[in-house]
Amino acid sequence: MASPPEPALPSPPPEGRSEDPLAAAFLACRRQDPRGLEKLYELLAPQLFGFLRRMLPRKDLAEEALQDTFVNIWRRIEGYDGARGEIRTWIFAIAHHRAVDILRRERRLVPTPDTDLESLLATAPPETAHEPLAQLEETRLRDCLGRLSQDQRRVLFLAYYHDRTQEEIARRLGSPLGTVKSWMRRGLLGLRRCLETP
């Protein structure tokens, strides 16, 4: 008789080295130690808030999304599966999902101003000295985005930062839908090729 398949046990966080302050704060948070969440806030709140300010049209909405992000980290931390991604990826995904929810709620009330990726790329890279790998990956991402055409960058940015569908992007840019789809496809594939080039 064959034995049942092995259960997929949660893997330890890939950033679980004790010298990594983000991993240490995360593990404390997982033990329900409030100091862990406060430390995570210290380490990530400025970067998350900068991101949320880009996504959301008003400062108070960014504050709401930031608060909800940390509440969700605290409440959902037992569900984090290290095998599915890094701690930062998980936290930024929570922030992004929350901001998308708020955008959809608020879009009925206020038009969302678009910010552009060009200004984002032109700014100095944020300091993430405590996470050298993250810094390297962000530098690489900037470089790869810089290799795309401006149109390709713009459609990716509008989709991710502003939760726009391809139809909405086409209307906003005054371009045919087919052209927008083509920019998006080429932009995504170009980004993947560049990121995976050794």
């Binding site: 605290w74 995504l188 990121l195």
Partner: protein, 230 residues
């Protein structure tokens, strides 16, 4: 429809993470993720890369009131207890009933399903809001058997749909439609079995005939269960 390969699959994963897929395509991708590890890996890579895109924004210190709000939240947040403890009064009555019902039904199931070659590896007793067991699922390597407890009323033009929550707070993922009477056996690929048997929660909702059109529960949740290994 088969899982596309190469660049098309990569684009599907990217657009799934970006959120630009229409609901039907999104739902299809959610099913494929369970069945195809290569697609799940593509999705994981894009989630990682888009999180880096988020991190490109220039950091901005939040106002001090944000920190105070978080501190207030932590002060008011008692150490969390498991949902089963919070709902102790409910489970005190419902659990023995559910266990008794499940044991009885496992016996019935083993008697009735003579094609089972290996014992079930997971069981879930879906309990309704009044503490009554409604569906019993037994999950094996390649099959899932469903026994309906008694007969469950089904409103016209409606279906019962089974969902699972892979981890607390994660979006529900559709599994399929459940019968409202009798016995059903469905094929259960190994990858789906592992996800189901170790899910945080299973739930059944009432949906339009044929299932939710959105890929998310749209009707009331009528029964829930935590899968157990046996």
């Amino acid at each position: 429809m088969n899982l596309p390969a190469g660049e098309t699959r990569e684009l599907l994963a990217a657009e799934y993470v970006l959120g630009t897929l229409p609901p039907t395509a999104r739902r299809r991708v959610e099913r494929w993720i369970l069945l195809h590890p290569e697609l799940a890996e593509s999705v994981r890579r894009w989630e990682h890369d888009f999180a880096r895109l988020a991190a490109l924004a220039t950091p901005e210190p939040p106002p001090a009131r944000c920190r105070r709000r978080l501190e207030n939240f932590l002060k008011n947040e008692r150490p969390r207890r498991r949902l089963t403890l919070i709902a102790a009064s409910f489970w005190r009555y419902a659990a023995p009933l559910a266990v008794a019902a499940s044991l009885f039904l496992v016996v019935v199931l083993v008697e009735r399903v003579r094609t089972v070659e290996r014992p079930p590896a997971g069981i879930a007793v879906l309990v309704g809001r009044h503490g009554h067991a409604r569906w019993v699922l037994t999950m094996g390597h390649d099959r899932m058997h469903v026994v309906v407890v008694g007969r469950i009323a089904l409103p016209p033009h409606k279906s019962y749909e089974l969902w699972f929550e892979p981890r607390a707070g994660a979006p529900m993922i559709p599994v399929g439609l459940l019968p409202n009477r009798g016995l059903m056996t469905a094929r259960l690929p190994a990858a789906v079995y592992v996800r189901l048997a170790h899910a945080h929660l299973l739930a059944v909702s009432l949906e339009p005939a044929g299932g939710s059109p959105t890929g998310r529960p749209t009707g009331p949740v009528l029964a829930t269960a935590t899968p157990q290994a046996v």
